[in-house]
Subunit: 370 residues, 2 copies
């Protein structure tokens, strides 16, 4: 077996680990945060700037890309990497999360999930086999199995039934797999029930996936449960495989999850917040819309070396936001993604140094500023 | 007198000339195209990328900036250059063109023009003195006098009255001037009437402005009249001062105006067209929305070396446009502005070489593609 994942170093005081994940498009140092490139672009950021800020891997959304421009077209054009001008690794989700977000218009069966396109209302069927086929067309380095992302307040009975189906879907994904250089990760569901999470881990571990993701967290269950179930589940997962906490999220959540042993993260928070005028700093969040910044010549974060902080004041960024300028989204996104990448640098450095006190120096990015 | 403008070389076969315009923020090689930075930003383009593509000077809009964030705020923050992170020259317009575009809500008198802000409807008065004061607060390198931009179908009587008032306003602007390191350009009006243009040139020339702009063209009068009046007026202007053809426009118009002896240009066409999906190429315009580009792996222009053409296909750019992605505006704007800057390179090269045949090789950018 190819050693596509190696735990390079373990933190003595936590469950955090440094790792190296090898893919068809190069290596990724973990823990790693993946910016979300929903429609074949990280919104408002040039690939060149992602590379420059140290971005190692992107997440692409199967649901959006299969509807527009279409996965077959992307395959015919040479795959997603070439299409979007990104030569580093890409992980694609299965499309399940977006389909389940469509609410009432989707219908689940053993076969898969029927839904209506948000673009033209056309009825579509997403099955485990289809999810694999689409991701193989896209040519991502890591594909995810189709799963059902369960609402946090679902009943135990429903979570059990759903998780069992997710397991059967995972098996079907494995069987449908044809692309030897694409890794495939299984997804652990089980809601907020430890026994169901444990059962899911045990079954999926036997299927020998290339990595394991934990889904269904960060969907409204509250911080306490997120970290309780997140840590519990991480502790059950095989040591020698990468662990991916899907869709989580806030800087403090990521740091805590790194300490619990997770290796991979993705979230729209840095880019979506950027477009809404919320900026991350080492002292917390800053809402650039506030009138107090209208004559503030300081950069967003005076300890930040991003292009935005090196050249522009809070006053200018506030003006751009208030004037509805596209440059507002561009500069804010550059800053927030830079912040997230430096956050991951600090996590890796804390593990490398093996010094507990370094963890407390990592930005907790609370909800207030100053 | 400081030699802030020097004609370096003249083209033997045309009236085109190479020049060097020196400002408080450095030199500009003319003929030069200025991208428009209406609200303190060239829409969707980082200053870094403007510098990289060889952009020498920007145009800022007095009307927009005085309403939001306010010229006094910009002055207090260190001026427009610092505010927007641009250390090369800036020319500001007087605000007149935008105010006159407001139509019925503005009222002209000898004093100036009263208008309602498009932001909050507040009544405001723009006078020649105010236009100078605002531009001095902004700290631009070149200020423009307040003028009335006359509709192309105005009667001779109205054009005459208006042009005389524009001349009186120009005198008031000169008297109001306090900033020694800011150049001030007069504006020639006179509509489509040669004698009125001539009269305006004669009077303003005696006032000894640092440069002369020709206004009121490219506003619907048609290509024939644009070039007839444009060339006629250029021929009347003092040789030793920079000549600026305001707001014109299309690549072929710029090339023709360079040949008529103009040195400076500005226009929103490259950036506005970019956001609307129209891209300039050496073979004409390309409408990226067209279905035929959905699987076209070629760059927008295979003879172009811009970041967009080096990394992305027409298929990808079409997808971004159709998906409403911000990156569409970013990449299209980078390409179109790069095209305009290379167009000016070619004009300067044709003058430098003094070879008539080089002019015919410069893109005429017609209205069709292939």
């Amino acid at each position: 077996m190819v050693a596509y994942f190696a735990v390079v170093q373990k933190d003595p005081g936590t469950k955090a680990r440094l790792g190296r994940l090898s893919t068809a498009h190069g290596d990724v140092q973990t823990p790693c945060f993946m910016p979300v490139g929903t429609q074949g672009t990280v919104k408002a950021v040039l690939p060149r700037d992602l590379t420059e800020m140290g971005c190692q891997m992107l997440l692409g959304n199967t649901y959006h890309l299969c509807l527009r421009p279409g996965h077959e077209l992307i395959r015919d054009l040479g795959g997603l990497h070439r299409f979007m001008g990104w030569d580093r690794p890409i992980l694609t989700d299965s499309g399940g999360y977006q389909v389940f977000s469509l609410g009432k218009t989707r219908k689940i069966s053993e076969e898969g999930v029927r839904f209506q396109s948000h673009l033209d209302g056309a009825s579509q069927m997403l099955t485990p086999e289809k999810a694999v086929e689409i991701q193989e067309c896209l040519g991502s380095d890591i594909a995810m199995v189709l799963d059902e992302c369960i609402a946090h307040d679902a009943s135990r009975d429903y979570v059990k039934i759903s998780t069992q189906r997710t397991i059967r879907w995972a098996e079907r994904c494995l069987r449908a797999r044809k692309k030897p250089d694409q890794l495939m990760f299984g997804i652990i569901q089980g809601g907020l029930f430890e026994d169901l999470r444990r059962g899911c881990v045990e079954t999926l571990s036997r299927m020998n996936f290339d990595g394991y993701a934990v889904g269904g967290l960060g969907v409204g269950e509250g911080e306490g449960q997120l970290h309780a179930i997140g840590s519990f589940t991480a502790g059950l997962l095989p040591e020698e495989r990468p662990r991916y906490l899907m869709g989580v999220g806030r800087p403090q959540d990521i740091v805590q999850a790194v300490r619990a042993g997770y290796d991979l993260f993705d979230c729209v928070i840095p880019t979506r917040n950027a477009r809404n005028g919320t900026l991350f700093t080492t002292r917390g969040k800053l809402n650039i819309k506030r009138a107090e910044y209208s004559n503030d010549l300081r950069p967003v974060d005076d300890s930040c070396s991003c292009y935005c902080c090196r050249h522009f004041s809070r006053a200018y960024l506030r003006h751009l936001y208030m004037a509805g300028e596209i440059l507002s989204s561009q500069l804010n996104s550059l800053h927030n993604l830079y912040f997230y990448h430096r956050l991951m640098d600090k996590c890796r450095e804390a593990i490398r140094a093996g010094q507990a006190e370094l963890w407390s120096g990592i930005c907790a990015a609370g909800d207030t500023f100053e």
